[in-house]
Each structure stands twice: as C-alpha cells, then as structure tokens.
Subunit: 271 residues, 4 copies
Amino acid sequence: MTRSAGLAVVAALAIVFTAGHVAPPASAQAPLTSGGPVSPALLEDLAAAYRVLANEGVIDGYGHVSIRHPGNPNRYLMSRSLGPALVTPADIMEYDLDSTPVDPKGRRSVLERFIHGEIYKARPDVMVVIHSHAPSVIPFSITQVPLRPVFHMATFLGGGVPVWDSRSVNDPDAAALLVRNGVMGRSLAAALGKKPVALLRGHGNVVVGPDIPLTVRQAIYTEVNAKLLIAALGLGGPVTYISAEETAAVEKNPGDIARGWELWKRQALGK
Amino acid sequence: MTRSAGLAVVAALAIVFTAGHVAPPASAQAPLTSGGPVSPALLEDLAAAYRVLANEGVIDGYGHVSIRHPGNPNRYLMSRSLGPALVTPADIMEYDLDSTPVDPKGRRSVLERFIHGEIYKARPDVMVVIHSHAPSVIPFSITQVPLRPVFHMATFLGGGVPVWDSRSVNDPDAAALLVRNGVMGRSLAAALGKKPVALLRGHGNVVVGPDIPLTVRQAIYTEVNAKLLIAALGLGGPVTYISAEETAAVEKNPGDIARGWELWKRQALGK
Amino acid sequence: MTRSAGLAVVAALAIVFTAGHVAPPASAQAPLTSGGPVSPALLEDLAAAYRVLANEGVIDGYGHVSIRHPGNPNRYLMSRSLGPALVTPADIMEYDLDSTPVDPKGRRSVLERFIHGEIYKARPDVMVVIHSHAPSVIPFSITQVPLRPVFHMATFLGGGVPVWDSRSVNDPDAAALLVRNGVMGRSLAAALGKKPVALLRGHGNVVVGPDIPLTVRQAIYTEVNAKLLIAALGLGGPVTYISAEETAAVEKNPGDIARGWELWKRQALGK
Amino acid sequence: MTRSAGLAVVAALAIVFTAGHVAPPASAQAPLTSGGPVSPALLEDLAAAYRVLANEGVIDGYGHVSIRHPGNPNRYLMSRSLGPALVTPADIMEYDLDSTPVDPKGRRSVLERFIHGEIYKARPDVMVVIHSHAPSVIPFSITQVPLRPVFHMATFLGGGVPVWDSRSVNDPDAAALLVRNGVMGRSLAAALGKKPVALLRGHGNVVVGPDIPLTVRQAIYTEVNAKLLIAALGLGGPVTYISAEETAAVEKNPGDIARGWELWKRQALGK
C-alpha cells in the first residue's frame, strides 16, 4: 500500500455510497453544505484511529483525530467530544475549515477543533491531523532539549520539531493555553510550517500526514522516539542522532505501513 | 456541565429518594443522626471514583475517596475498609465530621478517615476529598524539589503544593505516619489551607474539590504532571512552568470535565 | 486481623482436614515423613501468593514463595518448578529443611529451594519466604546506593537491607550465582540475619515474614519503595528517609493488612 | 529439557509429518526446493515465539523470529509480513539462505529477512534468529555506554555486545537504515561474530541461539538487563557487572529453561 492509496480509494468510492451519518437531508437549509456522504470504511478507520492511539498510550482522554473530507477539501471530519477509546463511526461530525459544525444535531464539539481546521487551511497536502498529550513528548516542550530522531522508525522528525508556545499569540484567550479559536489555530499552523510534527508547550503535540495509517504510525513513533531519547540522554555522553541523509533515504521508502496499522487496529478493536 | 451542577442536582433529589444504604431506621436511638437518604446515582458515582482512580493508577490498595453528604454538611460518605477496585455503593458508610461512623453495622472503617472529616470542617467549599499514594507524586514529598505545574491539565497546582510532614504534629501517634486521629487530621487540613492539593511526606497526597468529576480529574492530572516534571528535570536545564496568569485563565474556564469522567468510568466499570 | 492470626487458625485446623495433596500414604516407607495434611485454605493462599506477586509485577517467571509447614516446623511447602502465574494448590510440594522433597512423585523442584530451607533453619520466627527478581530492587544490589525506606508502607526496611554477594561464598558453585545448595543457602541466611529483606547482588531479593498476607505486602512495598527512591534520587538533593523512630512506631501498629491481601487476591485470581 | 532437545525431537519427527503449509507440490517446477514438511508442533512454537515476544514487550509491530529448517540447514522459516501478536502457523513461509521465498503464494515477505538468511549462512550453530526494537536496548546503541550484564539471567551478554551501524556498510541502501539486502545482512552478521546478541544503531537488536525457548528467553532478559542497567547507571557510582567467571559458570548450567517458556506461552496464547 502506498502512502496515499487508502484515501484515494475512498475518495473514488465516496460518490457511490449514499448512506452517511453526517450528510444533511438533501433539502436542508443549513448555512453550511456537507461535503457529501463518506464511505463507511473510512469512518470506521477514523474511529479506529482514535482507539488505536488510546490503546497505544499516545492519547489520553482528551486527544482527537480528524481527516479531511474526501469529497470536499474544505470540510473535515472529527468525533464529537468523547473519550477516544469510545469513539465509533456514529460519533463523527463534519466541519468547515473555520471549524463550524455542518450539522451538529445537538452534539458537542471539542473545544480545540481549530487546531484541525487551521492546519487544513494552511497545508493542502495534509489529509489527517492528530492532537495528543503524548506523555514522553511533553518534556521536550518544557525544556530547551530538542526532540530529535534517534530511532529508524522516527526519521520523519529529522527536519526538526518546532515548539509552539500559546503565550506567543496576541489573543485574549492566549493565557488559557487551549487552541479555542481560529487565531490560536492559525498561529499553531504557522509554527508547524511544512513539518509533520509540532509540539505545544506544556500541552502535547500535533502530528499531520497524508493518510490514516501513516499518520497514526508517526504519532506512535514520535512518542516511542521521545521515550528512547529520554533514556539515552539519561545515560549521558554524546547521542548519535539520525542523520539528514538517513531521513531523506527513509522518506523515499518508508517501508511496510500496513503491517502496523492492521495489528494496532486488531488490538484496539478487539478489546 | 458546570463544576457544581452534579452535586447540586443530587442535593435536590436527595429528599426524594427514600431507599438508602446508610440511613439508620427512623426509630434508632443512635447517638448520631444520619444526614438522610442519598441518591443511588451519587453513591454509584462515589463507588465509581474509587474504581476510576484505581484503574488510572492513582490509588493503590490503600487509597480512599469521600463526598460531603448532600443533605447535611456535617456528614460525609466513604467506603468501608476495602480495596478501591472492589468498592460498590453497598460499601459506603456515613460519618460525622469527627469521623465517627453514624451506623457502622459491624463494618470496618479506614484508619485514616480523619483526613476527610477534618478537611470538611476546615473547608466548607470542599465537597470531595481523595487520599492516594500516587507514585509519581511521592518523590516530591521526600526531596526539596517543589511539585509545580508544567502541563495545561494541571494548572490548578499553580498556587503551590504544600508538603505536610507528620513529624511536625505534637501527638503521640505522630511517629506512626498515619492520620489516625483528629489532631493529625487538623494539622494536615491546616497545611492544605485553601489549596486543592497537599502532599504528605513519604506517604502520598490529598486532592480536594467541588464535585466528583473535577476532583477525580485533578487527582489524575496531579499524578500525570508529576511524571512529566520528573522526566523534564531529568533532561536538565531550565524548565518552563505554567505561569500564574495561565493558572488564573484556565481556572475561569476549565474545559470539558464530563468527557474524561465518562471515559474513565466506562473503562473502570467495564472491567 | 493480627499478623499471625492467619497461620494460627490454619495450624489449629490442620489436624482436622484429612485430604491433602502432599501427604504420603500412611504406610509409605519414604525416608522422609510428611508434616501431615494441610488445610486446603492454606494451600489456596500459598498458590494465591504466587499469582498475586506475579500480577503485581514483583516476581517474573522465576520467583517462588514458600510457607513453613503448619504441622511440623521442620518441613516447608512450595510449588514445583512452574511459572508463578500458573500455580495452583495441586502444584505444592513438601520439603524438609535440607530442601529434599518428601514425596516428589516425579515433579521437578526449583533449583534454588535451598534459599527457603536454610532460612527456615536459621529463623524460627519466619513462616513465609519469598524470592523474587523484583526489578526496581536489583539496581540497589549492583551499586553502592543503599535501599532505605522513604515510604510509610515500607518502614520495615528501616533496620537496613543487607546485600548478599554469591561470590563471597566458598563453594564450587558460587560463580554460578544461583543458590543451588545448602552452603549457598546458609550464607544467604546468615547475611539476612534478623532482617525482613535481603538483596542478592545482580539477582533479586528475599522477603521473609510471619504470615502470607503481611509477607506478600512487604514484598510488594519493597518494590514500590525502590521505585520511589530511584525517582527521588533522580530529582537530586537530599532525600528524607523514614526515621528509626517512625519504623519503630509503625512496627507496633502495622495497619490494615487484610485490605490489600483481599484486593490483590481478587485481582490475581479473577484474571 | 536440555538446550537442543526441542529441535532435535522435531527434526526426528519432521520426516513423519506430511501435511505442511510451506511444502510445494511434489511435482512443482519451482526454482527452489523446499526443505520438506515441518512438524506442526515446531510451527506452533515458532508462532508462539512471535506472540510471546510481543506479549513480553520485546517486539513491537515490526519484529520477527525465524528458525532454521529442521530438514535442511539451507532453508529457514519465518512469518509473512504480519504484526507479531497475530502470527499463526499458517503464516509461516520458507526461505533459502539468500532470503528468497521458496513458494510465496502471493504472501508478502518482511523487508529485513536478510538479517536472518545471512546469519544462518555465517553461523552454522544458530538455529533461531530474533530481530526486535526492544526499547530499553536501543539507548545503548545510540550512546557510548556499553550494554553489559548486571543480572544473573543475562550472563550470556558477558562476552560483549557489538553495536553494528548501518552507515558503515558500502551499499546504496545503507542510509535507509533497514537491512534490505544481502550486503547489509552480511555486514550485520560479521559484526555479530560469535556472540548471541548484537545491537543495530538507532534500530534494535538481533538475538540468536540454539532453540526457541532459550533464544526467546535471552531476548526477554536482554531487554530486562538493559532496563536494570539504565536504572543502576541513573543511581550513580560504580556498577557491579557480572564477571567473566560468572558468565562461564552459568553458561555451563543455564538452569530451568522450560519453566519460563511454558509460562510465557500460556500467557501469550491465552490472551
């Protein structure tokens, strides 16, 4: 499976499926139009991403995952406010890129959805956004020690991992630390730049990518790499980081993405 | 859900329910009168709090949780001596604020219940008290390193975390470390002051709050914050703590309390 | 429950029960006589001790637990060579204090049973012996840093924790690290002296006590205390240890032993 | 059970069993001939090895285990590309020592199978090869701190643990870190030399041995020893390592291999 095959297939199927949990009635006068029905398989994979990341210890009770709508790049899909380990396809809501719900039906949205909308605006290449409080990552956001790759499964960190500080934003909500509005979200998206991962000081990280399996894998191995680096730095002495040449070489050929995804899904959904 | 809505609703309902595990017979000649029947939903939430905290690794076999009686501020409710992961509503007992059981029916009380009674006396605002041996917290009680917030989910620690030392109490039981009587409990309550969390040197902590979901959340994130701070200090160099301004801003708007509580309850009770 | 009540009751009952997995036929010509039938409840508790210690992360695949025979102080009871999480009452074998099986029936004994026999010889007060590779304890056996109590649940370590080094024994098997014979066992028992815990350099520890619930608890909290001390030492600066006065005060009144034991048993056997 | 008894028995049985998942039809014109049918019990043990190592936290989603074919030393057996916790006997494929599948039947091979083939070429004594990303081991591959034994279950590390760096290989794929071809595999096998364990810089390790139970045990205790050494080095001061004399003594008499294997299998397969 190539990196983008999963979503490409789904996009092709999207116009075929008609049943959809997030599609408003055809005659609705809603101010926002839906991106259209979404394949049940994709919604299942999105729900699975929440459960996988919870099961692998990457997200606690307050993380979230979104995908760009396969039928409309100006919409994204994300669970209502719900503990990640509980998410099912029926919990997925649709948003425009200002993070306004298309048809909330009384469901509560997560406060920090602006992380997702603003990154989708700034990064047309991004199809998946993950926000977590990954525990081994946070120490690198509150010290001067950079999170750099030391593990061959985390070469994607080789271009550097920006640390965004909410205090740097000129917004009345900045002191409250959460990304509660578009101004905060745009600032975070700018800090992320073209990278796959950025840290939020004293908070967590965002991991972005082209499809669910690869992005989930990168979220998992960002956490693993952070844990390995903490241990290595504790041993003392110089640390051998992954080189720029190695990052480039692995990016050309990222290996077997499907193996991990299938495993993690089976383990998370089998519980 | 606002912070106090849960208990407020319960207090309103308390006079409606008549079946109660802790209510003495109407004709009893017990020296202590009960605060009256308590809603089954509140007793279920209290039992759930024990199980959640055990499941999340915050309390070991010897922690306990209490709530102030919704019908009488001079009574509180707490499980009999029992491993936290086993507590059910039927195990809840009622105490006056001197920590004398209202109607023990032969059930064994926990030795350190005076922690709870004395805090309820000293802090009319407190509706929930949690005592744990949270493992990442204890190192901060036996070193000179202060437990300070570094994580946006633990801003409530921003006002400082007092460390109480049992040796400081002028009581014959002081050397035995446990809070076995009212003198010890009053000393601890005085050390806690108006704070939400205090550490007990070489022992654990107390976490207090206005309702079960928020207080459980604060107990969980006190432990998480301690773990993050241990890792950050291990990396070396200056640590960026949560600022006083940030603590104040988050306190005004603590975010989505219900999401975590529902998740943790499902995971703890589903086992 | 006082510390010795469990075994005392069992000893009184032992002459009543007649069915016993380890009792040889009345007419057997075995060179060793059995200490007699043992109460099923005691055998169940011994099997439970293995499972509890495995479930709590104290023993890996190679730990073992024994009890002195309630009917004959010159016999002890221990599982055949079997992974601790799998032990049932049917796996318990009987040994004399030279660690010769009374009636092996083809069952394989653990190599290091001499730890148990020699401690029972040297310590008439000891009724239970636990040997584990408790992971947080071992670092204190391979450095110069003493394992001292910092936690109120581990005051029993206050008299000091000897470290025994197998290399110190004048025995042809000494370099092989295991306690494979009586000479090695006697050396270890001498190093233990009158203490409740001793470390084996590069190997693990032994924890001894008067009954199963208390000794299991001490094995669990020795590991917890070691973990807390590792974290505290990592924070740097002076560490506040439990004082001698505190050790003495807690030893007089060790608190509620039954609560932990009932919980751990339920959790280990319910799996 | 002696070290090689397991495979010896299986080799004797291999000519008896006729059903085999990997045997090509008798009349096949495949360029590679199979080593012949393999006992179901051996295939079950190989699948169990994957699951045990996953369950014990030694391999993540991307580790693999192989055995030399009992009927032909120029063939080896390994799972298709699949999450280790999911492997069953039906997933086992056969390879020649150039790591070409004998009869792939459309199944996907793991990219790094050359690790296995090249070690079997270089080490006629090796019957089992394990490759993992064991997390506590990796810090020793990215620092100058040598992984040395401190635990009596890891004396086999006493002869030294080489660290192989993929960058040292003169191959166009060297920068991609993975062992994707025979050149990379031969370089790793040369670095391993006659040792039981080698580390791959920023990647993981290989553990080799004479049969499944012992090699799995060595993979598990390599990880445990690394964890213990990290903790001991964190405590500071001189560390007492296992001596050369101790390594030699234990190697002559490695103790009870079967106990761990039976336990780990039961725990991994019972899930």
